[in-house]
Symmetry: C2
Amino acid sequence: MYQLIDGKELSKRIKEELKIEADKLKEKGIIPKLAVILVGDDSASKVYVRNKSKACNEVGVEFEEILLNSNTSMEKLLSIIDELNNRKDINGILLQSPIPKGLNIQEAFERIKWEKDVDGFNPINVGRLMIGQDTFISCTPYGIIKMLEACDIEIQGKNAVIIGRSNIVGKPLMQCLLNKNATVTICHSKTKNIKEITRTADILISAVGKINIVTADMVKDGAVVIDVGMNKNDKGKLVGDVDFEKVKEKASYITPVPGGVGPMTIAMLMNNVIKATKLQNNIIN
Amino acid sequence: MYQLIDGKELSKRIKEELKIEADKLKEKGIIPKLAVILVGDDSASKVYVRNKSKACNEVGVEFEEILLNSNTSMEKLLSIIDELNNRKDINGILLQSPIPKGLNIQEAFERIKWEKDVDGFNPINVGRLMIGQDTFISCTPYGIIKMLEACDIEIQGKNAVIIGRSNIVGKPLMQCLLNKNATVTICHSKTKNIKEITRTADILISAVGKINIVTADMVKDGAVVIDVGMNKNDKGKLVGDVDFEKVKEKASYITPVPGGVGPMTIAMLMNNVIKATKLQNNIIN
């Protein structure tokens, strides 16, 4: 009998705890504030930004949206980042991806001061995560670890298999799991015999972005299955990477889509904004 | 029939090629220079530093050794790094590890300007490697990739298993192998059933530092075996992690110790010094 990992419920609890933190900061006269830059008019991005704004409202974080049209130059984007870097009232800066082709997103991420890099995409934060130092961990991997911990799922000594090696999920998640003493394997489009590998997984995470890429025959009995995918099926419904109905019968724990990893990502963003605010104001704990 | 991967011979070839690069720089009036900081009097460290100095001499890189006694303060160490960061004649800075307890080596590594960080230990360089950007790759993992390439060993689509998750070998090597499209697993002291995992490896790398930790029963027939270990046995002889005499009979390729990974590490350090010199002088290729 599988257990559903309710990311929505858990994220709600985390946001409530963060609200207490935010309130304490306000008593000290400090108001946490997140700036989100959105370039162009990708409709999915707009939804993501709206959800982030909603979460800010729940936690008591101020929110400033910077909307740039799709023919914004790289110079302009960088100068806006510099401005936000220098503003004392802004604690966290997030550049919503994707940005229009022709703009270099890595250069932009690198320009965001590491102290305000609440997405954890600046190479300094990426490097610190890899070295095992305290840092801003990117929100999706961080949310996954929090979910596993909330369910008391043992990570140490377990075989964790990640499908997908993106810079925003697969690679940082590998570091997070390694830091928690899992044995970690990372698979991707060039992996041969992927089924043989995924069937060794005690914890299986799919972060590919393809419907039904994880089928029941790829999953070991009793595995924990985490679905990072966010895909629209032919009926326009949001679904994950995992063939949920069949895989759930083999899993011990499984995340739904929607209501699994997605809400956790936003909760951890809020966590990082509070962390950044404390860091910038020299508040320990 | 196994083939020995001769790191000594390959490193010689690489250093010869680098000498040509160094000579070209000299024609432009640019003399590449490496500064090595050694704190305390660890005898193994002294040998390593001597070998690096010898390699500099072979390639035509100037070498400056900064010897600090073991009760040097952190402030002093950082101020010396700052000085070297600012000196125009110094292109690469290397802090020999270990440094005495009480000094924070991570803080020191982080202080070395990324442009002069020829060891690739600054979080910016670590992060860039993880993101897949051009950067200074730490020398041992880089040397291993060069060895595999020199032997025309296919990496893409192969199962690579790394034993050991250190910041200087295991973790960056994982990134390097992933960037070359291998499916990568990283094992460590908390891994259970390690034998089952290592036997799936087409390419097996041990970076633990324990004699005979890799035995023949852990190795798949025809595997490529790379031994990063540098251990002294009870006769005072330098040996690796791999039970060489038995494992070689199963391997397709295997590195010896000494004469395998060790010389490659130093060759790649020279590579990084030349790269840093070019970068600082805006020379492309």
